[in-house]
Amino acid sequence: MKISYYPGCTLKTNAKNFENSAIAVARKLGVELIELTRWNCCGTVFSLTDDDLIHNVAPIRNLIRVEEMNNNGLINNDKRLLTLCSMCYNTLKRANLRVKENPDDLEKINDLMYLEENYEGEVEVLHFLELLRDIGFEKVRENVKNPLKGLMIAPYYGCMLLRPKEVGIDDPEGPTIQEELYLELGAEIIDNPYKKVCCGSYQIIQDKYVVSNLAYDILTHAKDAGAEAISLSCPLCAYNLDSIQKEVKEKNPQFVEMPVFYFTQLMAVAFGLDTEVFGFDLNYVDPRPLLNDKNLLGRNNEE
């Protein structure tokens, strides 16, 4: 199956490990991610101001590209757009929802983009976790060659996958989609109420200690509950929970660092894929010692 894929800017720079591992595990599941031949920034955040239409131009322009992929025969009559980054997912999906519900807004945006074909509102924005659920987690299990036995994972959702509920991929108060996935990978799930707490998002630019305080709470609660690592799907959350551990440790010397995975990295390990798709050198806290402890690395199970 071929599906249109929107990477987003961070997936091409700081989160290259997220993209590489996602493409590899998708291929294993028989899904080929076809990157949009032309795409721009998703818009980064969905604007909450009613009359701020200009910030919806960027996401809608990307949705037009999905129609182009279909018209050019790169994708065979499939108007779904797959995303990996939670932030891109949220922005694209909300802009899509807004123009579907407000034809006047769509008309204005189409009018501003008069050099493009009109957007007809037919694209469906999808997160990779949703696609996995649609394919069936049992299909994921069939591909597990290196079960993550004994690995204590705390799933972290943050905000963008769940809120507002109109675009959420799961129950905003009690999400389980990541838990279901990690169970099939053979990991142990550590539930904790901080999995839905905001990571601090772009406050990192204004004041990194707002974020490091939040990260300290999120990480220590997971750890106290028994987690050995966090797993998530957002490069910004990853930055705020992974790279920020330097600052967390500066302020709290007793703090012990904890690896933060993209869910696709865990899948790649469990699928026994080639180590080069893991991209662990881009993780700030190196997860390799933990995986070695569990005897999960160095076993290349790919036939």
Partner: protein, 260 residues
């Protein structure tokens, strides 16, 4: 001594503009009115002039009696100096172009943009990191791009300006360099951008980073730079700046040329 040099250079610049105006005299004033069949009316900064229909915006404004000190350069569509903004009668749209490459049309409202006072960062290319953060460090407004595509519409070179800006944001220096390669730095993208980016200077930094860190160093360039540093061309350079216009023209027409 230095001041004197500078004032001489200023005088020379004035002379050069006179020479250029003289060289194109037959186009703008050698025309006999009775030989012109088709006339159009243009408005230069609001004032109406009747000009021959086959002129460019640049020569039409000169025909109308203006003399360019700025807002005019090579007259060949290469240098990017003659950025122009115009509107056609009855249309709301402001259009952009290079005055030397755009033909006048009846009812055009015209003005030349002599200079773009755009932000241009100063950096030591050898000390920068080869990643997207270097672009954001010097041009943080890059993140404000809303993908409205106004820059692309403004570009007289027909470049996909928005696409190269977006390539910059995603750290694809190769795409940025290739898509912006034909930029003549006229500044029209920056003047039209609602997010206040300076696209062409961002692209220049991107191309420099790509050239410095991602392209093999050309051997012949290294050799030539060394020759220049060692003063190989000092003497000819001195000579060429002293000769008369006639000698210069002779040198130019008889220069060594690669086969076409």
């Amino acid at each position: 001594m230095k001041n004197k040099d500078e004032s001489n250079r200023k005088l020379d610049a004035g002379k050069i503009m006179d020479r250029i105006a003289k060289a194109s005299e037959q186009i703008v004033s050698g025309v006999k009115d009775e030989e012109v069949e088709n006339w159009v009316t243009i408005y230069v900064m609001g004032r109406a002039y009747k000009v021959p229909a086959d002129l460019t915006i640049l020569t039409a404004i000169e025909y109308a009696g203006y003399k360019f000190l700025r807002g005019c350069g090579c007259r060949q569509g290469f240098c990017g100096a003659c950025s122009t903004v115009y509107r056609k009668k009855g249309e709301y749209k402001l259009q952009t172009g290079m005055a030397c490459q755009t033909r006048v049309e009846d009812g055009m409202f015209l003005v030349q943009i002599p200079f773009t006072p755009a932000e241009k960062a100063s950096y030591d290319i050898g000390k920068l990191n080869y990643n997207v953060n270097s672009l954001f460090q010097y041009y943080p407004e890059l993140a404000r791009c809303v993908s409205c595509n106004t820059c692309t519409k403004a570009c007289p070179q027909d470049l996909e300006v928005m696409d190269y800006v977006q390539a910059g944001i995603k750290g694809d220096f190769k795409e940025l360099a290739e898509k912006s390669f034909d930029c003549i730095q006229c500044g029209l993208c920056a003047i039209r951008c609602p997010s206040e980016l300076v696209q062409y200077n961002i692209a220049q930094l991107g191309r420099r980073l790509y050239g410095r860190y991602d392209s093999p160093e050309p051997e012949h360039l290294k050799k030539r730079l060394q020759e220049i540093q060692e003063g190989k061309f000092n003497e000819v350079m001195e000579k060429i700046t002293q000769i008369s216009i006639e000698e210069m023209e002779k040198l130019y027409t008889e220069r060594e040329r690669e086969e076409e």
